[in-house]
Amino acid sequence: MSGLMQEVTEKALALGVPMSVQLDVTYRCNERCVHCYLDHDDHGEMTTAEIKHLLDEMAEAGVFILTLSGGEILMRKDFFEILEYARQLSFCVKLKTNAVMIREREAQRILELGVESIQVSIYSHRPEVHDAITLVPGSLNRSLDGIRFLKSQGLKVRIANVLMVQNMQDYEGVRALAEELGVDSTLDPTVTPMMDGNRSTLSLSVDNAALQRVFRDEKLVGNVDEFCSVSPHASDEALQSLPCSAGHTACYVSPYGDLYPCVQFPLTCGNVRQQRFVDIWRHSEQLKDVRSIRMKDLSGCSQCTHVAGCTRCPGLAFMEGNMRGPSTQDCEKSFARTGIPSANLLSKKPAAPNLIQIQFLPTIAAVPA
């Protein structure tokens, strides 16, 4: 984050302004990615008029950065009408798409409407791997064509890759592909549980050895020694700090109008079909609860070795059962990064076989002869 963006975000925090909102305009999608956390059926999406009304309310509430995502945004026939309206309201609009439906005409329209940047999901440089993740044959080539159309308009494009068991050998290939296309790329090692709490997608997460390899790749992390070191013990100031922007300067709205602190934090705080956006933002008890969380209050985390450098996601912790508790996925990342288990991992560590035997002996001894 640039210095000025940091300054502006701090000002928004002080004023209680929601600087940034992700609005998913649909959960429908033309791909069926194996790791996706969404149910792609339409359970009653907001209409065009409802979304425009919401955009009016969000502009009035001070929202500046608007990320339009899905599902696949272009599955909505009114997508460009929504985008045009958002730009008339002067939002800084970012798009998330798989780019499969982006051809020259769409790319041109995106440029005309002054979109800030477009994030495109690419999971491998090899069609057989990418297409096996999206479950759509030919999808890699379609997405890459989409990126080329966007680039030919001079638009800013970023490739987003999620590291999974299926594509763990390919992230370097994706990075090389991004360089060839002249776009930025990011790699996220976090597979998210499904919105309904189903955690089966987590079986796609890579193991500790693969995470270690990624965290020791200087092209990804810069200075490896610095990145993999344990942060010094947390200061009082760090313990008073906020876990992340979710619910503080940012939030998420689903296609059905449900407002959550973040897309990865499915705690319903209200519905914009029933209440004004700003009223939910200011008065929701759930958001107030999220805003009250400080690092020092986190059970199992505040005394952990990693507390100062932890990337704990409160949404993942929430989906694990307690938004004031640890997020085991982040504990595993800290472990892979530094080689030192977190307090949470130590408390969960299964007993080794020899310890089981030791525990077993008193029971035998207690059995009457």
Partner: protein
């Protein structure tokens, strides 16, 4: 002396936060914040009102400043903002498709 017309560039993103304008350049995604005087000019930049009129009606009544000096400063500012792709500047009225700028929560709380 010819008059100068200013219009908000349609490719920027903008929002008012606590009385100051945040502007994201459509050219290179650079973020700017405008002080209160620059914000007044930005908000009044409809392409139809000449800059001298904006200064006379919106700036001078708010600040203790000589109109000629204020206009000179405003012209320098307008050309700087134009260089960053934030404002369009012309000696003729500019047909603008921008809607009026609405205040936001940062200001109305």
């Amino acid at each position: 002396m010819s008059r100068l017309y200013v219009a908000r560039n349609t490719r920027v993103a903008a929002r008012s936060l606590g009385g100051e304008m945040m502007i994201m350049s459509g050219k290179d995604s650079t973020l700017f914040t405008l002080n209160q005087t620059a914000t007044i000019i930005w908000q009044a930049a409809d392409g139809a009102t000449p800059l001298d009129e904006i200064v006379e009606r919106r700036i001078c009544p708010e600040y203790d400043v000589e109109p000629a000096a204020a206009l000179q400063d405003a012209e320098v500012l307008a050309r700087e903002l134009a260089a960053h792709g934030i404002l369009d500047v012309s000696e003729d009225p500019i047909r603008s498709v921008n809607p009026p700028v609405n205040p936001s929560a940062g200001d109305s709380r």
